[in-house]
């Protein structure tokens, strides 16, 4: 068994060393690696949207979200093996924003790997981001799991290279989630070819974990909860026994199972987004499996935001959502049903009113 015991006492023991520790409302987590030496955790922080105002001023609200996630991840015991950042570190891709975000992230006592978000990309197509964080797509192996990072927020070349008079305008057009001038996200041919070659070296029984910014499944095109070549990516992953896709961008809890592939989204540290079903004029395809996050209470600045740590149990991923103003949520891979499920709220009867969105 791979059990997670939430222990207030352990939290205080660890947190007590830090002045702010005792006041943070997280229950610290103790992981029992009873059976498999291959089980491990990593933390996942995403969608910080650090936003430059001018000079040395940044939007305080978004700074606070990322600072809090960083402080709390540093309190995890035992220490996670590494930290992922899921994209949208910046709001408009500027050096000021990426530098300021990197500065806040530098307080983490862990190795951090980064995923590209559209808010990081469309000003200079990732040039400065690459200087700070490395290549836009890559893979690595850790304790028997093959990890793949894709830049899934590229789009048609016409839109990227021919449509906009300035890079700044291109960034602004893509930054508006509901902007009809935007363009659908895609991984694209170059990375699909690379992915195919990368996977050729991996045995079919090796667990795969794929990190992308956009969903790699089609939920709602109007807000780019969408990846244009999702089916082609899914086809490349089809031959593997255990595949998990973890994505940001949607600023809300989503999960799904398509064939052999489990999909899980992560929360944002900046602000939550409505579920597409809340837009009365749109057709959308939120996976039936998903029990939504609690509706946000805007009067509490950090409500419906948070971060997560992810337990890799024998190659499947369990997401533990650390939510600032709501009860924490756990979405765990159910081995019998072969799909992710919420530990507490999955059945209809167990759902609570704040989880109904309209």
């Amino acid at each position: 068994m791979n059990d997670i015991n939430r222990s207030r006492r352990d939290f205080l023991r660890t947190g007590g060393a830090l002045a702010l520790g005792a006041s943070l409302p997280i229950s610290l987590v103790e992981l029992a690696f009873a059976e498999s030496s291959q089980n491990f955790t990593f933390a996942y922080i995403s969608d910080a949207h650090i936003q430059h105002i001018k000079g040395n001023r940044f939007v305080r609200n978004w700074d606070m979200g990322l600072q809090r996630a960083v402080a709390e991840v540093n309190l995890l015991t035992p220490k996670p093996d590494f930290v992922m950042f899921g994209g949208d570190l910046a709001q408009l891709g500027s050096k000021e924003e990426l530098d300021h975000g990197a500065e806040i992230m530098s307080a983490l006592k862990h190795d951090v790997r980064y995923v590209m978000g559209e808010h990081d990309y469309y000003l200079d197509l990732g040039a400065y981001w690459e200087q700070l964080f490395g290549p836009q797509y890559y893979s690595f192996d850790h304790k028997g799991v093959h990890f793949i990072v894709l830049n899934s927020i590229r789009t048609y070349d016409d839109w990227t290279f021919k449509r906009w008079p300035t890079a700044e305008q291109r960034m602004l057009e893509m930054a508006g989630l509901d902007n009809p001038n935007g363009s659908p996200f895609m991984v694209g041919e170059e990375q699909r070819k690379w992915l195919k070659e990368d996977l050729a070296k991996v045995t079919k029984t090796t667990p795969l974990v794929v990190f992308s910014h956009s969903p790699l499944q089609k939920i709602y095109k109007g807000w780019n909860f969408w990846t244009e070549d999702a089916e082609q990516i899914q086809a490349l992953l089809k031959a593997y026994k255990k595949v998990s896709v973890i994505y940001g961008h949607v600023h809300q809890i989503q999960y799904n199972q398509i064939g052999n592939i489990s999909f899980n989204s992560v929360m944002a540290t900046a602000w939550p987004w409505p579920y597409p079903q809340a837009y009365a004029q749109a057709e959308q395809y939120l996976p039936k499996l998903t029990v939504p996050m609690n509706r946000a209470d805007p009067f509490f600045e950090r409500d419906a935001t948070g971060w997560q740590f992810i337990n890799v149990a024998n190659g499947n991923v369990d997401l533990n959502f650390t939510l600032y103003s709501n009860k924490d949520r756990v979405v765990r891979f159910d081995k019998a049903k072969k799909q992710p499920q919420d530990v507490e709220y999955q059945v209809d009867k167990a759902r609570i009113d704040p989880q109904s969105h309209y």
Binding site: R60, P272, A280, D297
Partner: protein, 136 residues
């Protein structure tokens, strides 16, 4: 002037008006309707511009950043009891709450054309949804 005289003169004036105005007030043409609809849609358009504007507040944050297509604003539920304010409020007061807080800006008067445009936009995005005043 006696009360009787006043009523008499009033009736006379009224009958004169009826003979002068041959078109009664509730007749309107498709062109009229089109014009009025256009007036409304101009306000919706102005509202959408304000909704996505980084200069409505002071910190560059726009309404659309948290509310794409004005989703999760629920105009059909107002006026309603807003527990955090502790009383029943109309939509525009909640808009002002957002202006002051996430946007770090200055609230608008209820009859400010900008406030009216914002409400026109938010309500337009919610067209077709049934009224549910008071719903949380």
């Amino acid at each position: 002037m006696s009360t009787f005289d006043f009523i008499g003169k009033g009736l006379l004036a009224l009958s004169l008006m009826v003979t002068v105005n041959t078109v009664s007030a509730d007749e309107f043409t498709p062109e009229d309707q089109q014009r009025w609809q256009q007036q409304f849609m101009d306000s919706v358009k102005q509202g959408r511009e304000l909704w996505t504007s980084p200069t409505l507040g002071t910190n560059g944050v726009a309404c659309a950043q948290c509310h794409p297509n004005a989703a999760n604003t629920h105009p059909e539920t107002y006026p309603k009891f807003q527990k955090q304010i502790g009383k029943v409020i109309p939509l525009w007061e909640m808009i002002n709450w957002c202006l002051r807080n996430p946007l770090e800006g200055v609230p608008l008067a209820a009859d400010d054309p900008k406030m009216i445009a914002i409400q026109a936009y938010v309500t337009y995005e919610r067209r077709g949804v049934k009224l549910e005043p008071g719903k949380h």
